[in-house]
Symmetry: C2
Subunit: 215 residues, 2 copies
Amino acid sequence: MSEIRLHSYFRSSTSVRVRVALAMKGLDYDYVAWNLRAAEQRSSDFLAINPQGLVPALEVDGLILRQSLPIIEYLDERFPQPALLPSDSAGRARVRALAAMIACEVHPLNNLRVLRYLQSTFAADTEAQAAWFCHWTRATLDPLESIVASAPETGVFCHGDQPGLADICVFAQFLNNRRFGLADSEWPVLARIHAACMEIAAFRAAEPDMQPDAK
Amino acid sequence: MSEIRLHSYFRSSTSVRVRVALAMKGLDYDYVAWNLRAAEQRSSDFLAINPQGLVPALEVDGLILRQSLPIIEYLDERFPQPALLPSDSAGRARVRALAAMIACEVHPLNNLRVLRYLQSTFAADTEAQAAWFCHWTRATLDPLESIVASAPETGVFCHGDQPGLADICVFAQFLNNRRFGLADSEWPVLARIHAACMEIAAFRAAEPDMQPDAK
């Protein structure tokens, strides 16, 4: 039995991703909360775990893993069932690309530290921050919607009828979207996939409100 | 022999990454240039290849691949020699996390479309755009430097003595840094790794100035 410890913040959507993967794999873990609103991720205790000062980080038998997608790839290699990536290279490339569209093009622009920089440097108020969030989210989710809507590989989920890495990213992004007033219905296929995720206990268990540090 | 076609822009650092990987694998390919300064990536011809309107995209025997890191993972699976990822899961997780630090935390904030949005929405002038670029680059390269400086896994390159995925990302990022006046010497270990990359023909061949569309 592996010793697993997740460093997380209930509302962090990258932490949501890792929590879904852990739950899908049926892995037990200790939950260590770091309050981003109180800048606890900048404490020396946390920087010793991740010098970048970002959650999530995952400890597995003493090995410290960072960055949500590489963490999930590691979990998928170490604990193969159920698989979060397809078994063929073309399928893996497709799923990784869908996941990267959210992980590399949406989330990095919209996290708390960026919104704070916009506020402090450009005097962006709440409305301007929301406009920024919506602009970059639409810039990627619109083409993502068209890709999954037209591809024969799309099934109940982004790739076939089993949930995987791309669905995890869509799921976490939609949770964020709602906080900025973006309706799921802007992207009907992604919304259907998000709803299919919500039917699965492992996804529901990863939601912010279900975490020990939720408040 | 595979039919490979790379959709690229000479200066795009995500295109640089894929060009290095193709050259390391010794793969011949057709180079298709899209001029981002002329917004050619928004043309219907290009959107049919990548609805997201981003280079690079790679066609391999008719399969269209998108997003630079998933493209490189695909190339590494299909053409295994030389390997761009370590053979062990812990090593792969480490290299993927180092690459993701650049691919998910630095580059998405600093590409042309984001700088243009800052200009049009917040009236950010050239100086404010450069400050933005430098802020987010340092926010990630500083901890990246400390991680590679202190880790026993670091060798001539980010992970051991053979170049791989993380080095490719460092290499491409340093090319961008210079355009914004960031000196390599801010990050001595990464600068040493970048210099080691420059000793390798496959890296030099991927530089912007070496491309058919360079001007």
